[in-house]
Amino acid sequence: MSETNLVEAVNKALAWELDHDKDVVLLGEDIGLNGGVFRATDGLQSKFGEQRVIDTPLAETLIVGMAVGLASQGIRAVVEIQFMGFIYSTIDNMISHATRMRNRTRGRLTCPMVLRAPYGGGIHAPEHHSESTEAIFAHMPGIRVVIPSSPLRAYGLLLASIRDPDPVVFLEPKRIYRLQKESIEEAGVALPLDVCFTLREGDDITLVSWGAMVHETLQAAEKLAEQNISAEVIDVATIKPLDMKTILASVEKTGRCVIVHEAARTCGVGSEIAAQLAEFGLTFLLAPVQRVSGYDTIMPLYRLENYYMPSVEQILSAANAALEYA
């Protein structure tokens, strides 16, 4: 047991799998001696060698292409893309190959790989370093998209993602890399994929979120509690495929829902959740589903980034609108 923050939890999960499965390799830029720009792979190269913790040339298409090839040989490649802003040149390989290798060969070849990337804003990073474009991956068939929001979930979900027999995009909310510490038992126990985590139970309203925004959402729930409003908080965690069962059951109970995410609103994952709530929950919805999200703008440079990102206040005002709706 040790007190661990989110990025350390990532490191521990990687170390565990490298240690227990000789077919796991890591690859990415600056992940070796440098330990990754956020130190997620700190110390792993010296422990597991340059052959398994691979510093690659500066070429993202190559990295994910290699992962597809490695995976076809049964090697579980865990890729680090330095920032989500540099993930776009990997989309071709993800959508044209990784997601469909099993399908197109009718199971002859598979693609057990993980595409890790820090994502999101809020750390005063330079241009292109604050992207939240998870919806692009969530639209791809044949994939899982997993986003942890705490050290414990980072540890357990990353283990599950590496062990998953299909490709997983694992997005790490870098704003909360060092926000919070939790005790992690380093026993290699995975958490389940494909299910939401209900972080707080409540009866009056359901707040649905993922990634760093879970923290603002929890704070909003706390404030609502002060007003004697009991909010249920759901961390979606696996945003593809969606565990709508849990979300629908909650909204059936509360009748009201606010979805909170940092990504741009239009065609974000929030739209899918809202659409399904409207389709399957119309009878029990007591108020329109609200989305509190980033805007449909380019993520501004850092002086304005706080205006871009959803605030506790915005969540509260959406929640109040939903609660007051008659």
Partner: protein, 358 residues
């Protein structure tokens, strides 16, 4: 005239287009049995190819990419590779695929719109046909990395076209192969055309082989219509890579005698006379001349081979035509190892749709 004319990329030709041999063959290609085998597979490939085009023309097959005139490259490669080496082919590499035991019926199934055509019975680690140009070059590097990591005496072979050499993927792959000295061979089937774009508009380079200079990878050119030269160079490259010699690149110069695919009409962009003139370099006739002139085979035996090829193709076509379509829910059955619950209702939906259409 290029900037790097003094580069002197080696070029090999053993058998010229008159069927005359100019170099000393290795034991392997001195053995008539092996040459006859080359001939056999080239022939099978060509008969298959013609049949596939006919099937397409009569509505029994989807769009099909012909390999006409480029059979030597694949047959040589098939002979030079070991069974447990791995191949990353394009959509025009039937010759090597057939050499590696991929069934004609599977190739037809693929072009006939059925994913089961990629579930090969042999060479099961080979990648399926790659349509997004050059993307498989990076997969090949990953596979070669796996081989090296596991210290296996295996070699990865990746084939691309001349057009593919313009794509960044190719270069990223070459560079990485050079950095890690991986056991991977890149073969460029330079058939002079990328659909309608002629070779000289694809790149200003005098050779495509010299692109390997950008990764410090050894490269050569070979007459891609000369199955003997192809075999000799490929064999050497592959065995060198197998014993730790690192990556190589081979540009095999050939010509696309067919339209790009059955959906293409090459007369829009090149003259039939130009194509006609290229027939004199046909890889099959030159080997035939050589075999006959050296009495390695006689006309009768050649006839028998032709019949045998036709018969095999007919049988395979029958298998293809008799393969029932998958049920609609098959589109969900290999999407994930276990279908996520969230998708179960969609699978049910398409099953109902299937029932209605029955």
């Amino acid at each position: 005239m290029g900037v790097y004319d003094n580069l002197n990329i080696p070029y090999s030709q053993y058998l010229d287009h008159h069927g005359q041999l100019h170099e000393t063959c290795s034991d392997y290609t001195s053995d008539a049995k092996n040459l006859i085998n080359f001939y056999k597979i080239m022939l099978r490939t060509r008969v298959f190819d013609q049949k596939a085009i006919n099937l397409q023309r009569t509505g029994k097959l989807g769009t099909y990419a012909s390999s006409l005139g480029q059979e030597a490259i694949g047959v040589a490669l098939g002979a030079a590779m070991h069974a447990n080496d791995v191949l990353a082919p394009t959509y025009r590499d039937y010759a090597v695929q057939l050499s590696r035991g991929i069934k004609m019926s599977d190739l037809l199934l693929y072009w006939g719109g059925d994913e089961r055509g990629m579930d090969y019975e042999f060479s099961r680690e080979d990648l399926p046909i790659c349509v997004p140009i050059a993307t498989h070059t990076c997969h090949a590097v990953g596979i070669a990395y796996a081989m090296k990591l596991r210290k296996q005496p295996r070699v990865m072979v990746c084939i691309i076209g001349d057009g593919a050499t313009s794509k960044g993927d190719f270069y990223e792959a070459l560079n990485a192969a050079g950095v890690w000295q991986l056991p991977v061979i890149f073969i460029i089937n330079n058939n002079q055309w990328a659909i309608s774009l002629p070779r000289d508009k694809q790149s200003a380079t005098k050779t495509l082989a010299q692109k390997a200079v950008a990764a410090e990878i050894y490269a050569e050119q070979v007459d891609g219509n000369d199955v003997i030269a192809c075999y000799e160079r490929m064999h050497e490259f592959i065995e060198r890579a197998r014993t730790g010699g690192g990556p190589c690149l081979l540009e095999a110069i050939s010509y696309r005698l067919s339209d790009h695919t059955t959906a293409d009409d090459a007369q829009r962009y090149r003259s039939p006379a130009d194509v006609e003139a290229q027939w004199q370099f046909d890889p099959i006739s030159r080997l035939k001349t050589y075999l006959l002139e050296n009495q390695f085979i006689d006309a009768e035996a050649l006839d028998a081979l032709q019949k045998q090829a036709e018969q095999e193709v007919e049988e395979q076509v029958k298998i293809y035509l008799n393969t029932a379509t998958q049920p609609p829910e098959a589109m969900f059955d290999y999407l994930y190892e276990t279908l996520p619950e969230a998708l179960q209702s969609q699978r049910d939906e398409v099953m109902r749709k299937g029932k209605k259409h029955e």
